[in-house]
């Protein structure tokens, strides 16, 4: 897509931002926009303050028993204390096209908790995990 995607004149938040792929500086997927954090300003207006990521954000949107169930399974899979909602500050977003581009990588954003856990306990013990298929 465009080398440096910009910003739209206006957004419909649900249509253009929610459920979109977040792409890091390295061009690799980070996560999906599971929800948006809105900041209530002193004058009462709502500003976009962050992208919310993770089961804590997605669970309520899937809703119902299925959503709550998924969140609790996720929590139990990762008993280490990372909170289930990740946050990408709005200042880190560099532009949008069909995806939302940010200026950091997944690791720098601190959103790789689950990935690190799976990598450490499932993937790394298996030989050959460091070679890419190309």
């Amino acid at each position: 897509m465009a080398d440096r995607p910009g910003f739209r004149r206006q957004y419909d938040a649900g249509l253009h931002l929610l459920d979109r792929q977040i792409v890091g500086r390295d061009g690799l997927p980070v996560a999906k926009v599971d929800d948006l954090e809105l900041r209530v300003r002193a004058d009462g207006r709502l500003a976009v303050s962050a992208l919310l990521v993770g089961p804590g954000a997605l669970g309520p949107r899937v809703g119902g028993r299925l959503g709550r169930w998924t969140v609790s399974i996720w929590r139990r899979l990762r008993p280490d204390a990372d909170p289930p909602t990740g946050r990408v500050d709005a200042t880190l977003v560099t532009g949008t096209d069909s995806a939302v581009h940010v200026t950091a990588t997944t690791e720098e954003l601190g959103l790789d908790g689950f990935e690190r856990w799976v990598r450490r306990y499932v993937v790394e013990p298996i030989p050959g995990s460091g070679h890419d298929g190309s």
Binding site: R20, P29, A31, K32, G63, S98, E115, I126, G130, D132
Partner: protein, 409 residues
């Protein structure tokens, strides 16, 4: 030679759609019971998957996004999650069947029981998915699966009554002794087998793995318009040889071991060896396709890194899903369930799940935000709409027909 390899993705995808374990047995069965009177369904299915795959391939090339990635964007998290569970379920069932199919092929070749082969096959499969370059995977199994062309050769050698075969195909009606409801069931089964969601997940994800861009559109289309018709032709040749050999004597095919018999009649032991090689390659290739597709759909729904173009430790969750699916598949197969029975269910459920997967792609292929200038033209939209209606009709008819015919009896 490079040109041939450029088509490997399309051919491998088509193999998973037209000559995987379910198709191998179903097409042979259909030929032995209905002759070629269901050939039109394969033709309709080929056109349908070409329409669907071309749109998904175009979306992948222009937007850089694979199919399941976009399903959530258009359907939202709740409906998208329901779709994920349904698609994953179907793909996983097929994955189980394919591993079983590889084991069955080895059983026929070696007389060692299928269940004993299952862990070996699963281990080999998983190592391939873990380490082997995507390109090598495509080329090896896509092209080796073409060994199934031995069925077309056998058909030629048998010197059948071509006009009789053509008459069956034209009649588009059940032959005497078969009811319209069983005929209808097999219409749904053959169509569902031709247009499975995982073909599109795999094709579009493979396109992203191969870093398609707008310049790749003609290669992508070549893959579609050569690969899928070729797959359809292979499956029709299997139905044709069983129609020639089994239909006149009223023998019904219901196991993989019977499928090479017409080839044995026409070409002897060498033919059977080639056919078994083809079975092995096609089912192994289809197992790769479905195993990866389970991982693709989960990873793309949640926005994780996925794919074989990064090292496994860079896409740990994706590989963990594939590993877990393989382990679960082995567990299911070790209960000695019949892989062919599993495949019958997966085909019908895939017909059910298809509309929800197809509609977002049809819509996005028209959206200039994703596609720039490459949105659907009027012809693509006309075909796309027709097939959307067909898919919905098939989806609605699937369960009633399955119940009425008790799974095709």
């Amino acid at each position: 030679m490079k040109k041939v390899f450029a088509l490997a993705l399309g051919i491998l995808t088509a193999i998973g759609g037209f000559v995987d374990i379910g198709d191998l047995v179903t097409n042979a069965l259909v030929g032995s019971r209905f002759g070629l009177s269901l050939a039109w369904v394969v033709a309709v299915g080929v056109v349908g998957i070409c329409v669907f795959a071309e749109m998904s391939g175009r979306v992948a090339a222009i937007s850089g996004r694979a199919t399941f990635d976009l399903v959530r964007e258009r359907l939202g998290p709740r409906l998208g999650f329901a779709n994920l569970l349904a698609s994953m379920g179907v793909t996983f069932l097929t994955f189980i069947a394919e591993i079983g199919g590889v084991a069955l092929s080895l059983e026929i070749a070696t007389s060692v029981n299928e269940v004993l082969w299952v862990p070996v096959v699963a281990a080999a499969l998983w190592i391939v998915l873990w380490r082997v370059k995507f390109e090598v995977l495509e080329n090896a199994f896509g092209l080796a699966g073409l060994a199934l062309v031995v069925f077309a050769v056998a058909l030629w050698k048998l010197g059948p009554d071509w006009s009789a075969l053509w008459g069956q195909a034209r009649s588009a009606a059940p032959p005497p002794g078969e009811s319209w409801t069983s005929y209808g069931y097999y219409v749904v089964a053959l169509f569902g087998a031709a247009m499975t969601p995982y073909e599109v997940f795999f094709f579009s994800s493979g396109g992203v793995e191969e870093k398609w861009t707008a310049k790749s559109l003609s290669t992508m289309r070549l893959n579609v318009f050569v690969g899928f018709p070729l797959g359809g032709a292979l499956s029709l040749s299997i139905a044709a040889v069983t129609a020639v050999v089994f239909l006149p004597v009223g023998v019904q095919v219901n196991s993989l071991a019977q499928v090479p018999i017409p080839v044995a009649v026409a070409l002897g032991k060498v033919g059977v060896a080639v056919a078994l090689l083809g079975f092995f390659a096609a089912t192994f290739g289809a197992a790769c396709e479905t195993g990866l597709s389970v991982g693709y759909s989960v990873a793309q729904f949640f926005g994780w890194r996925w794919g074989k173009f990064v090292a496994p430790r860079q896409a740990a969750r994706f590989h963990a899903v594939v590993l877990l699916s393989t382990v679960l598949a082995v567990a299911v197969l070790l209960t000695t369930v019949d892989p062919i029975a599993v495949t019958e269910y997966s085909v019908v459920f895939s017909a059910l799940a298809l509309p929800l997967t197809y509609l977002p792609i049809l819509v996005i292929a028209n959206d200039p935000d994703y596609m720039g200038g490459s949105v659907n033209g009027r012809f693509a939209n006309a075909l796309g709409t027709v097939y959307f209606v067909v898919i919905v009709v098939v989806s609605v008819a699937a369960i009633p027909l399955m119940i009425l015919t008790k799974g095709g009896q």
